[in-house]
């Protein structure tokens, strides 16, 4: 046991591997939030008047709202007037090739292991790299545009495809949805936009890497993905952030729209800076993610691996409006040290024969607190709706906590809803068995935890599955005795 405890110590004390700061001149807005800030952001982005009006409407509503207190997380009050709401790296206005990208930036990507060149050459992944809110380079755009696929930064989409943006922006997450979504709607800086035309199967995984870089800048990303009838897209989102002392706010909004027979697969690996061992610093990750299966036979699938952030507050949901539509949610959430996560999903069954599956795995170690909060709602017209939920928690120590708050609301007799949850620690006999076969206790724990998460990792695209396993290793390996 003592030896195991030593390795626990060692591993839980592991430093944040991806913590580094890139020194780039940033073009920042003054501190504080007012209508002028919103106007400034809008003008910096050279947005049309309708976009500004949309932002202002959101801001007006945000002012009337209060920060939610129901999540099972605790943090000092955020001073929204003490943050910078816009910062863009200074660089040349347009880029023709990768060589023109700031070498400093390029090095940052290399440290993160996402060298654009390498990705372009080897992996076939188109990357829309978001570096502190502004897209700096987009690859594989040409290949995609041949198929009619639009994959660009959000600001570009506002300029180039206003009709699509006006039609779909806020259609899933309205400006008034919740406190953080309203804030995001008012001050979002940039993000990604993706449109897959009718009947097109996107030939590669689309991906965006997010980085928060300039100190004390809130990051407000906005992602909108529209899959037209019969299309398919798999989208990857991954993030790492440098070490910071002051808590940084991240309030992103992701909207997915799947029309008839379309399919969207959205995968996230989240590894924002979790703060140090005392919980100092670290990102506040307050995200609103929602998709709508608006047409018949459509499918939306969320897969997430949440290992970072001081506080995670996110509930990727699916509105199953079209008949026979399918919603899926697979999640691994890890909290270590002083991390807190309140995460889960919402499945709203409206259409007939709609199906949803929820698999949530929570792992807590150190002083971490991990909550699953989910809603399964079967509305009156959702004949033959079906839901299966499973949430399991693994506790690695006696100072951490695991909580489940599932809400089930059923208004239809022909539907079937099942919910299962369990909480346990790693069995001593399991570890003993592995050790008996010559594995170190460290490897044994790693193997058992990986096995625990297998159901979710299986859903991730290959590249992500590898990264996810590594991340899990870094966050937890050995923190069990």
């Amino acid at each position: 046991m003592t030896k195991e405890n030593d390795s626990i110590e060692q591993l839980t004390n592991q430093e944040y591997k991806w913590g580094f700061v890139t020194d780039i001149e940033a073009d920042s807005a003054p501190r504080g939030l007012s209508e002028d800030t919103v106007r400034l952001i809008s003008s910096k982005k050279q947005e049309p008047a309708w976009m500004l009006a949309w932002r202002l409407k959101a801001f007006a509503h945000w002012k009337t709202m209060t920060e939610p207190t129901w999540p099972n997380v605790h943090y000092p009050k955020i001073d929204y007037q003490d943050a910078i709401y816009y910062s863009a790296p200074k660089q040349k206005i347009s880029l023709n090739s990768l060589d023109e990208v700031d070498p400093e930036l390029r090095r940052t990507y290399e440290k993160l292991g996402i060298s654009l060149e390498e990705q372009k050459r080897l992996s076939g992944v188109a990357v829309d790299a978001v570096f502190d809110s502004v897209s700096v380079a987009t690859t594989f755009k040409k290949n995609l545009s041949e198929l009619g696929i639009i994959f660009c930064s959000f600001s570009e989409a506002v300029r180039e495809h206003p009709e699509l943006i006006r039609q779909y922006l806020g259609s899933v997450v309205p400006q008034t949805d919740n406190f953080f979504a309203a804030l995001n709607s008012a001050v979002f800086s940039d993000g990604s936009f993706c449109y897959i035309p009718k009947g097109v199967r996107c030939p590669m995984e689309l991906s965006t890497y997010f980085r928060i870089n300039a100190a004390e800048t809130g990051q407000f990303e906005r992602t909108l993905i529209v899959a037209d009838e019969g299309s398919y897209v798999s989208y990857l989102e991954g993030c790492t952030a440098p070490m910071r002392d002051k808590n940084q706010l991240h309030a992103a909004v992701v909207e997915l729209v799947a029309l008839a027979n379309a399919q969207i697969k959205y995968s996230t690996v989240q590894n924002w800076y979790p703060g140090d061992k005392e919980g100092k610093g670290g990102i506040y990750n307050f995200v609103t993610k929602r998709g709508i299966c608006s047409g018949a036979n459509s499918k939306i699938s969320w897969t997430q691996v949440e290992t970072g952030s001081a506080i995670t507050w996110k509930y990727p949901g699916v509105i199953l409006k079209g008949d026979n539509s399918v919603g899926e949610f697979y999640s691994v959430a890890v909290t270590n040290n002083r991390q807190q996560a309140d995460t889960g999903t919402k499945m709203i069954h409206i259409g007939k024969n709609t199906k949803s599956t929820i698999v949530s795995k929570g792992i807590s170690g150190g002083h971490g607190n991990n909550s699953y909060r989910g809603l399964v709602q079967i509305q009156k017209g959702a004949t033959n709706a079906r839901n299966f939920s499973q949430c399991d928690s693994l506790l690695l120590g006696d100072t951490c906590g695991a909580h489940t708050f599932p809400y089930i609301e059923v208004k239809n007799t022909s539907s079937k809803v099942e919910h299962e949850a369990s909480t346990s620690k790693i069995g001593e006999d399991q570890i003993f068995y592995c050790k008996q076969r010559g594995l170190s206790s460290e490897d044994a724990v790693n193997m058992i935890v990986n096995g625990f998460c297998k159901e979710v990792f299986r859903e991730l695209p290959m590249e992500f599955a590898v990264e996810a396993q590594k991340l899990l290793g870094i966050s937890l390996e050995g923190s069990v005795g």
């Binding site: 928690s393 506790l395 909580h403 007799t413 539907s415 079937k416 099942e418 620690k425």
Partner: protein, 453 residues
């Protein structure tokens, strides 16, 4: 997770709270010198707490799915109880249950109909009011010590009007196997009234007892029962506590049980809810010593526009405790069911084994269920599981029965009955179990035919 437009609860409730405050003042005047007793200080504190919070609204997480505005709005007056006959009492006594009986009519203790033939020596089976005035040590020590009135408005209200109810005290080492039957009967009085029954069951070290609480009505009139029951188990005590709620379909019923369990004690609750327009049952059990076994079973049957809400809390405050929970609901008509089962495992409550199961059968498309099983765990060496299912009768099982020549109505009834008997079968007192069986059959379309089988 839908937020409703905020309404100024305090302002709107002003008149509603005042109704109870003025009732409290006249209640106080009728106490005749008892107002200097320590119990009265607790009453005053509780009513002050109620006055400051008012009735809960659907903005309170604990009351999200149950709107108690109809209860808060209704005018209720205290008054003299109506009359009952011996035949009425006989009708509401479980056939074959040969038991000591405490009867309350419209919330008032009825000396006439209560029969206490034998009492364990050193213990008590009597009305709580008498126990308090006669200075019973156990009654004085435990009354209002377990139910937290600062956390629930209805418990505060009950504590404010705390006066009478059933009191049972089984002394150390006594196995009292004769069930104790407590009947609350509402007469068909036309004036709406409110009753605040307050029960206290104290089981001494290594003692054992069976208590059956029943709430029933002679007519379908409107009234409000706001009951609080405190159950105290000393080390090694074993208690089976059955509650059968058959209030009038126009009545409101809020019943809270607070169970405090010392080491190695064993508590079983079987709760059956069938009556009432708006019903809320709270069970809070706290494990204060190691080696406790706690079993909570529940069944609710609702139809029409009934609303039945079951809230249970099991607090694993110490290590090496087990809890088992099974709650089932059968919803018909446009009734609404709510289940919220909380399990807390405190820090250091290692080796906890907690299992919770919640199953709902929806028999009508207009019925709604909101269920929220909830685990909050702060210890690592524990085994906690919970499962919840909502659905209709298994089509294959119905088909199987039909293929054996059983009509569809009867096939459905057989399956519904089987679903319910899983809970009724857990009641250890035979006459109560048989009566519950009959009650369930009565609710089924073809129950009469099944009864003969």
């Amino acid at each position: 997770m839908v937020e409703k437009a905020a309404k100024p609860a305090g302002e709107r409730q002003g008149a509603q709270i005042e109704q109870y405050l003025s009732a409290f003042r006249s209640f106080e005047r009728g106490l005749n010198g008892e107002s200097a007793s320590p119990i009265h200080a607790v009453r005053k504190e509780a009513i002050a707490h109620f006055a400051s919070t008012g009735f809960p609204t659907t903005h309170d997480e604990e009351w999200r799915f149950t709107d108690v505005q109809p209860i808060a709005r209704a005018p209720y007056a205290a008054g003299t109880p109506g009359t009952v006959s011996a035949a009425d009492i006989a009708r509401w006594t479980f056939a074959g249950l040969d038991a000591n009986r405490l009867v309350f009519v419209d919330g008032e203790f009825s000396e006439r109909f209560s029969t206490v033939r034998s009492v364990p020596s050193g213990g008590a089976i009597m009305s709580l009011a008498r126990a308090l005035t006669s200075g019973d040590a156990a009654a004085l020590r435990h009354t209002a010590r377990h139910a937290r009135y600062d956390q629930d408005a209805f418990t505060a209200l009950n504590t404010g009007f705390l006066r009478d109810g059933a009191f049972v005290h089984i002394p150390d080492g006594v196995s009292w196997d004769e069930p104790i039957y407590v009947l609350y009967l509402a007469t068909g009085r036309t004036v709406p009234f409110v009753a605040h029954p307050r029960n206290l069951f104290v089981a001494g070290r290594n003692s054992r007892c069976f208590v059956v609480e029943r709430y029933a009505a002679l007519a379908e009139n409107s009234y409000f029962t706001n009951a609080v029951t405190e159950v105290v188990l000393a080390e090694g005590a074993v208690v089976e506590h059955d509650k059968v709620q058959e209030e009038s379909l126009n009545a409101f019923h809020v019943g809270s049980a607070h169970v405090s369990m010392a080491a190695k004690s064993n508590y079983t609750s079987n709760s059956f809810a069938m009556g009432g327009a708006i019903v809320r049952n709270n069970i809070t059990s706290v494990m204060e010593g190691q080696g406790v076994e706690c079993t909570l079973n529940g069944l609710s049957l609702s139809t029409g526009r009934q609303h039945i809400d079951n809230h249970t809390t099991i607090d694993h405050a110490t290590a090496h405790c087990n809890s088992h929970e099974l709650y089932k609901s059968i919803l018909d008509g446009s009734s609404r069911g709510v289940f919220n089962g909380k399990i807390f495992v405190r820090k250091d409550a290692q080796k906890t084994d907690a299992k919770q199961t919640n199953k709902t059968l929806l028999l009508s498309d207009l019925a709604t269920i909101d269920t929220k099983p909830q685990l909050e765990i702060f210890a690592d060496d524990v085994k906690c599981t919970h499962g919840a299912t909502v659905g209709y009768l298994d089509a294959e099982a119905v088909f199987y029965l039909r293929s054996r020549g059983i009509g569809i109505e009867l096939a459905r009834d057989i399956l519904t009955y089987a679903f319910a008997s899983d809970v009724t079968g857990r009641v250890k007192i035979e006459p109560v179990r048989a009566a519950l069986d009959r009650l369930i059959l009565k609710q089924l379309h073809e129950g009469r035919r099944l009864e003969g089988l």
